[in-house]
């Protein structure tokens, strides 16, 4: 227990030390968060009327972001499988960084749900035993349960591994290995349950398709690794984290397969709608063009997502371009953008347009929605940065330089991390 207190205090000291670039990055995130809180105060006072959501389009940008981030959280941990199979060497680090990314993403997911709620202070109605949870029939009740469980699981495992590293001990594999293995089906389940949230609604033909959950998993396996691919390169540059180029290329290759599968499923959906040519086609028409002769305000996003996905798929499919650092990073950014637009706009908005009575409400996010969302991303990136800082310090700084974990007094001088470790992402 005492050594855990030392770890917490040591970690606190770590996050308050760093280069000017590190503090500039933290300052930027804090500013994002402050302006987000400002916008949220307006929303809390005025109501959700400050968003552009209305009865026709009753979920939109917040829930789109939530959906996207559930995918990131899931995929970050699923990357443990190839890391193990292909023996990328620093498996421990891949697990820790994956879980830290998952924790940050789930924090953002939960915040996006909270800012979307009309009565967030009634959260306790959703708590098992205390509230009145509609279990097992409500998918949102399931989602709240699995997301919180997943958050807890990843937080515990990542903290435990980093804590052991901090104390220069090897973690107990009998504790860690089963939990990491358990987190993989959990990762699949959080994204499946989120897909079922939409999928189960017979009222919305655009979502009521059996390949929605597979599409969610395929697209998540593109976007989650896209973030890790860039994160690994940054960490490799600024810390002692070692990952071979071959591992990065393998991630890009796996992303190509996932994107290929995602595009195939999307094509299957598009074929079904256009060939059968029923009234349900109207939602895809709204996404890619417009209906009743009116141009859709989201058509640009629909095409951007599809084309970015196809282009990045080709970049990652060709070995030469996925091995070239420039095209690899460009591809990762494109894949990230493609899936972000797909989940943020292309999944949600056409599902509501036209609405269940055939009426069209043209939705684009309001400034308040963008500001609050930016604030939530600020919180997520701040959590990610601080956790990575702590993990890097514990795992890559020689143990001797840590504060004495046994019998250390609080004012033991802490050896500053080398400049390299302090550089921001």
């Amino acid at each position: 227990m005492k050594s855990f207190v030392t770890f917490v205090l040591g970690s606190m000291r770590t996050v308050f030390r760093g280069s000017p670039a590190y503090f500039a990055w933290i300052g930027l995130l804090v500013l994002l968060i402050i302006q987000g809180i400002g916008a949220y105060c307006t929303q809390a006072t005025e109501g959700l009327i400050v968003t552009n959501m209305r009865d026709s389009v009753s979920w939109a940008f917040y829930i789109g972001n939530f959906t996207f981030l559930v995918g990131v959280a899931a995929a970050a941990v699923m990357l443990v499988i190839p890391a193990y199979i292909y023996d990328w060497k620093p498996i421990k680090e891949v697990v820790v960084f994956g879980e830290i990314l998952a924790v940050s993403a789930v924090i953002m997911c939960l915040l996006f749900v909270v800012v979307d709620m009309g009565h967030p202070e009634r959260f306790w109605h959703l708590m098992p035993f205390v509230g009145k949870v509609n279990f097992p029939s409500s998918l949102l009740a399931w989602d709240a349960l699995v997301l919180n469980a997943y958050l807890g699981l990843n937080l515990v495992v990542a903290t435990y591994i980093v804590y052991c590293a901090f104390n220069g001990k090897h973690y107990n594999p009998q504790i860690v290995v089963p939990l990491v293995i358990f987190s993989i089906p959990m990762a699949i389940s959080i994204h499946t349950v989120t897909a079922f949230l939409y999928n189960g609604m017979a009222s919305r033909p655009y979502w009521n398709s059996a390949i929605l959950a597979p599409r969610f998993l395929a697209s998540a396996f593109c976007s989650g690794p896209a973030i890790l691919l860039i994160l690994f390169q940054v960490l490799r540059k600024v810390t002692k984290f070692e990952i071979k180029d071959e591992a990065l290329h393998k991630i890009a290759e796996l992303m190509a397969y996932a994107m290929g599968f995602n595009l195939f499923l999307t094509a299957a959906e598009i074929f079904k709608e256009y060939y059968s040519d029923t009234q349900h086609l109207v939602h895809i028409q709204y996404l890619f063009g417009g209906v009743h002769g009116e141009h859709s305000p989201i058509a640009l996003y629909g095409w951007a997502s599809l084309l970015l996905g196809i282009f990045a798929f080709l970049l990652f499919l060709v070995p030469a371009t996925r091995r070239n650092p420039v095209t690899m990073n460009a591809g990762a950014l494109m894949i990230y953008a493609s899936v972000y637009i797909e989940k943020g706009i292309a999944l949600i908005i056409p599902g509501y347009t036209p609405d269940t009575l055939g009426q069209i409400y043209e939705y684009v996010p309001s400034i308040t929605e963008l500001r609050i969302s930016a604030g939530v991303f600020g919180v997520g990136f701040l959590a990610l940065t601080l956790m990575i800082k702590v993990a890097v310090h514990a795992m890559f700084i020689p143990h001797a330089e840590h504060a004495e974990h046994e019998g250390a007094s609080h004012d033991t001088p802490q050896v500053a991390p080398p400049e390299a470790a302090a550089k921001p992402a």
């Binding site: 209305r54 035993f129 998918l139 009222s203 009426q359």
Partner: protein
Amino acid sequence: MAHECHCETIDCQTPAGNEQAPSPDRREWVKGMAAVAAGLMAAGCTDQASVDAFLQKHFRELSKSELQEVLERLEKQYSEQYGKDVEVKATPAKEGVNFGYALDISRCIGCRRCVYACVGENNQSRDPQVHWITVLEMDKEHGVSLEHADAYYDGEQVPREGKFYFPVACQQCSNPPCCKVCPVNATYPDQDGIVVIDYDWCIGCRCCMSACPYGARRFNWSDPSIPSDEMNPDTEYLGNRPRPKGVVEKCTFCLQRTRQGLYPKCVEACPVGARKFGNLLDPKSEIRYILENKRVFILKEELKTMPKFYYYYGL
């Protein structure tokens, strides 16, 4: 006719206002939160009414005395807010009653008198405008087709050439998808078949709005505004009492009227007699006469929501 409740997942048998022993977890939670609240009150951050509202239980878990306290608190709050005596009742559903509605499409002229009668009766917000009834204008050449429906037609010019009118509100499904998806059981079918909402339990997640195939549910995107002189002070907890912002509302078959034996306001307001209402379990009711003698249909029957709202062509 078998019109019993078909919901499999929602416990329809629990009557409102029964005495249920709270679980130990609940007791601990309430105790803990009450302690926090006492601290906040001491610091002047909140008042007793807000604390009571925050800790209020689900409607169906309130004991008789707790329910009484809640109703009195709400009456006090609304009376102060609207400057008149507001009554909030919690009339339970009657035994042997299952309400049904029938709408004669061949008579409806699209005048929207039902819409505004409903707004007045049920204390819907005037700004922003909330309407529980949507009247759709459809083309005669296409028949009943939502693809060719317009909810925003000019109500001064009706009925228009080549058009007919198709009002839609909550269909009071026997298999309601909205209740299935609600994460906190805030909306559920009551004993008399009316799907109700506990506005004080709803968390405002809007799952029900996505699940409803009839666009019947409305969200209070801002604080509803009702002019004091137009506010209907005769209210029900699960019905037409003023709603807070951030919760979902919808048609309740005017349960504040129908549970007292009156017709819903829209039935009374309709100038052409297109709207019929009654007890499906009473063989002599008008609704049963229509089911027996007219050919009725329901909207989106393929979704198996089993509405108790029937459309027919009376002429």
